[in-house]
Symmetry: C2
Subunit: 468 residues, 2 copies
């Protein structure tokens, strides 16, 4: 049967676009090397019609389907399971790279799932528009279909919202192969249940997003960046509220960086340097942007100057090189961690007002249980989204620490839950957390999710073992 | 059985809070007088627990449930059906008026379904925050539960989004009486299907929203208003794109008003007057707002001045009285129409770039079929949302015209569909359009909606005959 299936798939998409065995292997493991599985084939359809035909074929044969874009998931969401009762086929959408249309007056564009985020941003910019989703580390590789399926976040959420907020319409191939054309480009449409929001963030478990109508925005012309040393996370939260009241939507980023992050970056990236004369424990990098060409650094300095005692020092610039140098201190954190060694990563969120309590409680609980633990904490204060990655500075101790990661997760996630937070703010559940979530979501909510899954995918073929 | 039911209801919520017969009648008809039905009782629960108990009781007895807030629906969405196979009970949430909490630092507040929109805006303002949903004509009466259930629009959508964009979390009583607590106040949470978006805009057909966590925003400190005479709707659309690029998110309203609207307002409201020396065919009223105290009228004048030939005349002010006088020309349109006589109302949307084509095609088609027809067209250009209300100036002719409203709807809606629009931009489907939508939505989309309805409400008890 597999060989018949391969032949049928080749007939549908062309022999060159079906990979098997060794050729398929690179698409069956995730980028971090944490997850790998096996697939009968990796299929590369050219268009929505081919996706539909491939899904219909798999559905008829009860073969599970793993939708895949740039395969940049951090949770094993886009690769086949290592062990699955059903055989699996990966449907990779990277060939579907068409910008179907752009409507600058409607501030919208229609794109296919395989367009990289960088390409979409570039085409928007050529039309004097901004597509604000920004994931600088991976945007040349990640594809919009994956961004939509995971409701990607990033540094621009504070100003522009999550990916789901940037979508006007979707085209989706359903688990039986039929195509739902929901490619509307309307700002208002109250004619029934909002189906697009079901598919966005569903991690490919309800269907395959093949195209989308995206919202565009005016392009900012001026910007200013501040690097601010703060007493503590509580000052950061208060400063953000103060800045929102004083600068409104000009705030396009507000990122916190803890001392241990800075130490790692300074150690591993020789082109970086301490921004302040003194060693500071907490800093935030703030960006204002405006579509009008105005001197934003004046407004930013004034707003920072009127804040009060929580600020220990601040620097403001409109110079691009200086701004980039500060931003590198934030952008290099992930790579600096990689060089330093493995840590236990948490992508959590709490209400913004609970961020200081989260950091304080989690730090104290971990220090008690694991004396000497080093905590790399950074992220998106405006979204209450902290990347919270503990490790042990000593490699031997760290190996032992990593072996106890379930215990560490339990400590961190229980505090998150107590503060009404989420154990996955932006990376999704994938394989990594789809069991852990059972501890933190109510039985009723899980039942509702399961019922929706069963309704849309009664055979349970779409991306099994992920999310739900 | 009904008398037993009434007793049980009285035990659950108190005898004073169950109305029957004549006392119930006012809650069984809509505000426009177009729809009326009969209910065994109208029940006023005090809290979520009581809503849950009442729903469970009705579900056990197969009694249909009509959720009701301020009963300001324009589509008969919040009253019982005139004829229904099942007996119906209205659950009115007006007693649930608690502001449960406000978190100014998190820019969020948690409110119960029965809070009026005006009250919520007032409490937000007292905390130096803005809740931006604005429905000036009804906001002292409409309740947030209804606003959420219909995904209400209004003039602020251009800047702040529809109601669904203003929600962080929900509490919902499900059709079997269980309570789903989704009252999260997180900006990022990627842990499964986004259930809240299913209930928002579902018009009470999937459950009863009992509370919500709403997003708040910084309060604007400065504003400027422009009254602009334009050559045609195409100039209005181009001007909006130009202003977005030049003023960005400062644009908080951009409303178009056609000549016939202005004529009706000037005729019926003696305190209004022509804004320009010459009689103009099309005008827009624009508002800029900013959280910084800056002279926005300068920026607005500059942006208007650089636009070009589409503008015939423009006036700009920062004076509140002058601004209010212009806004009255927009706000009084609905009442002026009421005084003038009945028209056939359409609340439609198309992509913003298609607005000129819509007005041109619909005007031409209606003039051909109904020579002399008077078209009152106004609304939210930025959302592509036009209120398009034709009537005949002569009362006798108008009676004949109204009798042919199905024909008129067909002409208008078919043009909307051809331009990829929606036949209900902001008012919802209710009873008014829940059959009409079958012509304009794909069979597949209707099937998906029906499947979701059956999954969440297998007995079909929630607000029957509305939306689906």
């Amino acid at each position: 049967m597999p060989s018949d299936l391969i032949k049928s798939l080749q007939q549908l998409v062309g022999a060159d676009h079906v990979l098997t065995d060794k050729a398929a292997a690179p698409y069956c493991k995730d980028q971090r090397g944490n997850y790998s599985g096996a697939a009968l084939a990796v299929v590369f359809p050219a268009d929505t019609g081919q996706v539909s035909a491939v899904v219909a074929l798999c559905a008829a044969q009860h073969i599970a389907i793993v939708p895949q874009g740039g395969n940049t998931s951090l949770c094993g969401g886009s690769v086949p399971l290592a062990s699955n009762a059903q055989p699996q086929v990966v449907i990779n959408l990277s060939r579907m790279k068409l910008i179907r249309s752009i409507d600058a007056v409607n501030y919208s564009m229609t794109v296919e799932a395989g367009c990289t985020l960088a390409h979409i941003r570039e085409i928007a910019a050529k039309n004097e528009r901004l597509f604000p989703l920004g994931l600088s580390a991976i945007e040349s590789r990640c594809e919009i279909g994956g961004n939509l399926s995971t409701n990607a976040g990033g540094v621009g959420v504070l100003r522009y919202g999550n990916t789901r907020d940037l979508v006007l319409g979707l085209e989706v191939v359903l688990p039986d192969g039929r195509i739902w054309n929901g490619l509307r480009s309307l700002r208002k449409d109250n004619t029934g249940y909002d189906l697009k929001h079901l598919f966005i963030g569903a991690e490919g478990t309800l269907g395959i997003i093949t195209a989308a109508v995206l919202k565009l925005f005016p392009r900012p012309l001026s910007q200013a960046t501040a690097c601010v040393a703060l007493r503590d996370p509580a000052s950061a939260v208060a400063l953000l509220a103060h800045l929102r009241a004083n600068c409104g939507d000009r705030i396009s980023a507000f990122e916190i960086v803890g001392r241990p992050c800075l130490d790692l970056v300074l150690r591993h990236f020789p082109d970086t340097r301490e921004p302040f004369a003194q060693r500071q424990q907490w800093m935030v990098i703030i960006e204002l942007a405006d579509v009008i060409d105005v001197p934003l650094n004046t407004a930013l300095s004034a707003a920072l100057g009127s804040f009060g005692a929580g600020i220990k020092e601040f620097l403001v610039t409109s110079d691009k090189a200086q701004s980039a140098a500060w931003w590198n201190l934030r952008k290099y954190i992930s790579d600096a961690q990689k060089i330093e060694g493995i840590s236990i990563k948490h992508d959590v969120s709490v209400p913004v007002s609970n961020v200081p309590a989260f950091i304080e409680l989690a730090d104290a609980a971990l220090q008690q249980q694991f004396p000497g633990v080093r905590i790399v904490a950074f992220g998106h204060i405006g979204d209450g989204n902290i990347h919270y990655n503990p490790s042990m500075p000593d490699p031997l101790q760290n190996a032992e620490f990593l072996a106890r990661s379930k215990e560490v997760n339990r400590i961190v996630y229980d505090i998150v839950a107590r503060l009404n937070g989420s154990i996955s703010a932006e990376h999704g559940l994938g394989q990594l957390k789809h069991e852990e979530i059972h501890r933190y979501k109510s039985a009723l909510e899980l039942e509702l999710m399961r019922n929706i899954k069963n309704t849309l995918d009664p055979q349970g073929l779409m991306n099994p073992g992920k999310l739900i």
